[in-house]
Symmetry: C2
Subunit: 121 residues, 2 copies
Amino acid sequence: MEDAVRKALMYDFYGPLLTPRQQDIYEMYYGQDMSLGEIAEQLDISRQAVWDIVKRSAVILEEYEQKLGLIARHMEQQEHLAQVESCLKKLRRLIENQERAASIGALAEIEQLIHRIRFEA
Amino acid sequence: MEDAVRKALMYDFYGPLLTPRQQDIYEMYYGQDMSLGEIAEQLDISRQAVWDIVKRSAVILEEYEQKLGLIARHMEQQEHLAQVESCLKKLRRLIENQERAASIGALAEIEQLIHRIRFEA
């Protein structure tokens, strides 16, 4: 996963565990893509102070992910849902072509995938 | 949701954020369903100490849920997955009966549900 995407996902999942100040600065930097200089100017603090907070926040979020693994779990689930979508497309073609036996086979595959998603979550 | 189920789910999601000691005691009490007296005896501490740790751990887990809402999100997703399963059952009957148009309608409904699950998660 691209680092910026991961950094943003981290914030989506664990952002509320940061202090409001950390949340603001992390979000400006990774969410709004502001530069350290822009953030420093807006908050009237040094660039170094901004950078320290960004780095520290990223470490805190990473520690939560190490413990809870929500992003790893989320990515795995997204992959399984993508598989379901691809099976649904296949099933649509089979139904349109009235291939009854093959349709039921594809349906069984989807049922298994859904079952797995339900009980892995 | 039944309180005991919720307490167990809390531990599944946020358990790693407790100290090892809190984890052990919370898990004995809510996971293994041991009594305060049994835990106290096994760990050679007072019943009151066990109870304090159980209560304190439950508060900590609840605070994380207040901030991150993973259990609320999980329950919502489980509900949507149950809807998908019910639609799949309906679809199976329609395919078996060779009702092509209705099958495609049911399929579209499933596609929408899956899409919603993907992007709400």
